[in-house]
Amino acid sequence: MIDFVGLYNYWIVIFLAMAGLYIVIARGNLIKKLVGLNVFQASVFILYISFGKIFGGTAPIIEKGIKVYSNPLPHVLILTAIVVGVATTALGLALVVRIRQAYGTIEEEDIHVQDESM
């Protein structure tokens, strides 16, 4: 039981990752797919942030009396990954706008039907 509670963050990570991947696979709406992708990426952000956390630790600032602080490196790394995630989402949404202009729909099945009928 203690293990389960101690690994609480990681259970959330697994749940979010699976939920995100499921949305990407199961939904035909291109925007919803991007949302799923974002949920999946968010799970990785939480994974990294959990690595750096130390119980009782504070922010990594050098001050008198502070001995225990969280590992800042994973937090910095994931900041980079968040930026990459934002760029991916922006590009994905831009593509969806262009797809909508070209096909008049953002449903995967409708696009498929239009491609087949050409």
Partner: protein, 494 residues
Amino acid sequence: MSFLLEHLPALIIVVPLMCAPLCVLFRGKNTPFIIALAATWFALLCACLLAGEVFDKGTIAYHMGGWPPPIGIEYRVDALNVLVLLIVAGIGSVVAPYSRSSLLLEYVQDRAYMFYAAYLLCLTGLMGVAITGDAFNLFVFLEISSLSSYVLIALGFDRRALTASYQYLIMGTIGATFIVIAIGLLYQATGTLNMADLAARIPAHGYDRTIVAAFGFLVVGAALKIALFPLHQWLPNAYAYAPSTVSAFLAATATKVSIYILIRFLFTIFGVKFSFEVLPTGIPLMTMAVLAMFLPSIVACFQNDVKRMLAYSSVAQIGYMILGVSLVSVVGLQAGILHLFNHALMKGSLFLVMGALFYRLGSCHIDALAGAGKRMPWTMAAFVGGGLSLIGVPLTAGFVSKWYLILASLEKGLWVIALLVVASSLLALVYVFRVIESAYFRPAPTDAPAAEAPLSLLVPAWVLVGGNVWFGIDTSIPVELSRRAAVSLMGFGG
């Protein structure tokens, strides 16, 4: 001069990276093209100098900003990644002049500077993945190259290019996120991101569940980016509908760099012992490689769009490279790395020829090529040259790597695999011959255009075809580099 030489590993990345925004700032008529051309040729020069240095002195370690690892980011150039750098910079500098006369620029019109900016960013990202010695840095460069390649693919003339790019974006992001999960788990287990450090600390840490999970995520993530069968769904559409310039560049470089990632992690970081002895990775990889050699080849035989056919053929050729890796021997790895180099030459040249044909005929459909052999003899001759290399005819580069692959299979006593390599080459013969049959043995429609493609498109294509023949006859440079890379990857010193 010696100052410049000392900083070559940084310059090869920084110069193209800085030139990308310059293209956007100086958006005159010709300036972006000249900047891109100068940057890619400079990168090729750097890659050649680095290759010379690695050839003479062995591995080069460069500390970014003078910070020693593991605190700073290290760039590490050895025989394996200098070969990848040569491929990327070489193909990049052949494709850059080609892009100017291909129809692409007329299509994007006054946004040509954006094309060159994305092109340079893609080049930077791919070279960065190859050169870096830091696992997280590798992810960042991978995403730089992926994001810019989604943009490049979406430039295609057909609206299906947009959906292809979107598909690639979804699959590519999942792949890259898997890789970043793997890197995170490795960091948590070992407390370092430097590749050399990781390689030293993983055995000391022991092969617990964290490392095994990291390994799984990495292999699947890399396989997605490689388009290893059956994770290849994004590739055929992306290469078929992207502009030919982009297809040539990406087909020759992007998947190769992803294979580099797989090789680097399996052999250098996790180590041969863990990857292939503790975990049974060899057999599944080999199974997928053999399936990849056959099923996409068979699909390729039934494609009527030649670019799509070549794209399926790329998936099949990736099978050969992974087969080499999965044999886990010096000769096998050498064959895989050699094929990486040779396939870049052949697929690059074939896609460039398709661009030249498209320029005149306005289509890549196999029926549109009817009679092209008589009307555009030089263009079609280049296709035949690249095609022969793809099949693996002696005196072309394709033969050399298949020869090594067969040698490696026989060395392991797997004569069935050796036979399969030969059998799948026959499939390549079928689909290449379909194109040749249409171009040479069918009468052309009367209204077909009768001119050769412009020289500015033909010369780059012929440069790569020439490379196929050159490296088919004088094999010393790639064979020696790949042998050294294979020996050091297998952990026999050097």
